[in-house]
């Protein structure tokens, strides 16, 4: 078990902190409360889409979006997709964040999580947005930042998804139809309330 210290609402491990560039762990991981929702949202996206298949889909979409709408910059992906995008476009920076293409960045354990935390923090602090996901299942068992956020910010996540659920039910027919045009069945999410058979 890693030695986890508590810093506000965020937990970190010393091993992760050691890999953080240009800042102390306090600066990096003490996210202000207003940033927590965004980071937590990133966490759930990562957590629910961490298969290799999902990663490929995200990489493709991130590239498409980046090409298609330069003003719109969601950096979607864990470190390998981030590298892929940066390499593809020869980028040294994404948003306000320097992308250092060093070999350790490709690591999906410890260092990768810490570096991604730094990127998220820098982006949210400067008004950017980042949505990340893990690329390999091994990340899921790593005591990374996202898992910790997820563990300790459940009410914020509930609030976010409750709003989304209410919006869905208020606009169900048109959203169901729109999603089905792209091959995604929203009606099968298990959230539909069926009348009991009398």
């Amino acid at each position: 078990m890693h030695d986890i210290e508590k810093k506000g609402k965020i937990y970190y491990t010393p091993s992760m902190a050691e890999t953080l560039p240009q800042s102390s762990p306090e600066e990096t991981l003490n996210l202000p409360p207003e940033d927590l929702n965004l980071a937590a949202r990133a966490a759930i996206l990562w957590r629910t889409a961490r298969t290799k298949d999902g990663a490929r889909r995200y990489q493709r979409i991130a590239t498409t979006l980046y090409l298609g709408a330069m003003d719109f910059l969601p950096v979607i992906g864990w470190v390998p997709p981030l590298l892929l995008i940066a390499n593809h476009f020869g980028l040294k920076r994404i948003g306000n964040v320097d992308i250092n293409l060093t070999p350790d960045l490709a690591s999906t354990r410890g260092g990768g999580a810490a570096r991604a935390a730094r990127i998220v923090y820098d982006l949210v602090r400067t008004g950017g947005e980042i949505f990340t996901q893990g690329t390999f299942p091994s990340v899921a068992v790593d005591p990374g930042v996202w898992t910790q956020l997820l563990d300790h910010d459940i009410p914020a996540l509930e609030k976010i998804f409750e709003k989304e659920k209410l919006d869905y039910f208020a606009n169900k027919p048109e959203l169901d139809r729109a999603a089905s045009l792209f091959g995604v069945p929203l009606g099968d999410t298990g959230l539909l309330v069926k009348k009991p058979i009398v």
């Binding site: 759930i44 969601p74 998804f161 989304e164 659920k165 869905y168 729109a178 792209f182 995604v184 999410t189």
Partner: protein
């Protein structure tokens, strides 16, 4: 044949507008930016973005259930 394909892409464009409008991932500025670019988008881009936003919606709905269950377990 071409007429059918145009109808299909118009439907997808309309569907994409709905998904952008109701996306929780995008902020207002991003939504406006994308709306202005829709007409110029290739069908493959419309497909990619539409799938992404539809999938986002599906994931969010499933995640709500998961988070609610998790909270229930924690409160026991």
């Amino acid at each position: 044949m071409k007429k059918n394909s145009n109808i299909k892409s118009n439907e997808k464009l309309a569907g994409l507008r709905v998904l952008i409008e109701h996306s929780f991932l995008l902020n207002t500025d991003e939504k406006q930016t994308l709306m202005t670019k829709l007409e110029m988008m290739k069908l493959s881009d419309i497909d990619a973005l539409g799938q992404f936003l539809a999938w986002e919606k599906q994931t969010a709905l499933a995640s709500h259930k998961e988070i609610t269950n998790l909270r229930t377990v924690l409160q026991k």
